[in-house]
Subunit: 213 residues, 2 copies
Amino acid sequence: MRKLGPLIKQTIDFNRTVDYYRAMRHKDENKSESIFNAAIQLITEHGLSETSMSKIAKKAGVSASTIYVYFENKEDMLNKLYLSIKKKMSLAVFYNYDDSISYQSAFEHALRQYINFVLTHKDEFLFIEQFSNSPLLHKLSQKEGIELFEPIFSLFEKGKSQNIFKKVDTNLLHMFMVYPAMAYAKEYFSGQTDSKQENFNEIIQMSWDAVKA
Amino acid sequence: MRKLGPLIKQTIDFNRTVDYYRAMRHKDENKSESIFNAAIQLITEHGLSETSMSKIAKKAGVSASTIYVYFENKEDMLNKLYLSIKKKMSLAVFYNYDDSISYQSAFEHALRQYINFVLTHKDEFLFIEQFSNSPLLHKLSQKEGIELFEPIFSLFEKGKSQNIFKKVDTNLLHMFMVYPAMAYAKEYFSGQTDSKQENFNEIIQMSWDAVKA
DNA sequence: TTGTAATAAACGAACATTCGTTTTATAAGG
DNA sequence: CCTTATAAAACGAATGTTCGTTTATTACAA
């Protein structure tokens, strides 16, 4: 997505003008990506509080000051990184998603996709875990992040009215859907358990038992 | 718990000695407590990465260097703080705990005590949430923290053999017991929900549905 | 008198960010 | 096609500040 330079209105003679765009060098689309990757890796390895802009720059292979071409400041960069990961997650969760078949299969599909994504994206997941609990996460980013998973919430809403799900706050249903899975991923990555397809099915079953009417 | 000074063996004459302890100024037992409190408050308000030793010292009303009388370094201080909170939590959870009546009532009791503690100890809880996801948390501290809740794990173990709980990894049972409750507390503190006794009962019911055979 | 608690002052290192400049992609004009 | 003007990208160096920790000294309890 190329941005155009500023619009120039050049007067040729008293009643004619020519409009054109000024020359403009484009941002390297891969550059913010490599800044993101460097940040994710450093933060999951050494922690948010131990990760500086200069370390990120060094790992990304750019000058520290270049980061400020792409982001306002550190906080802004982290919030944008957060949202970009949430977007990737939501795309994975709703890949081939179809809630017209049955509530249970839609629930199962989304949860399975979620667990799969999380277990195959260690750094992204651990960054989200760390940053979610940081006051640096803006309320607005958090809200935007949640809204990316709107289909889940509407599934719960509709399912409640049809007596499929427990008639409790939709947020409660959502919590029992994803938080145990997140806990599982965390334990898996800290190397205390190994991931088995068997576990997946058990988690999905337990979540379902928790939310079903 | 006062520490004694170094043991001195003083010779009175060729075959008699007197033992005594050298004079020693005592550490103020409240001082590490006020360091802890300052750290908790600052970290929940501004985040782990924005909280420095000097800020903690200022808030606690001591010199920064005094912190190093009580702790080896920042990491050590945070890990000890983590464990002291976990200990308080475990005391609360197992207050009046009796697993000889029934599995379900023991489960309910512990979970209710846990939710109560967490909702009435905002700063402690939010600190734990932040620090749990930080690489600064030592593997050993984490292990010690988990072991404080051993009665829960043995409840699950025994309950599984009697077909009360699902025959899945005990860690899975534990996750479905506490993680949704933690998520509830987080949402409560970020001001999106208000806490009702009704919610408590719903959460406990849903957790139970998830773990019961 | 003695040993430790407590501190103020000082340390080099690292921090986030800005500055002044250079490089480079772009498009108009020849 | 080449030249040239342009404006943003990119950068290295420097900014002032703050970091975690150490050192040297004083306060204090027994």
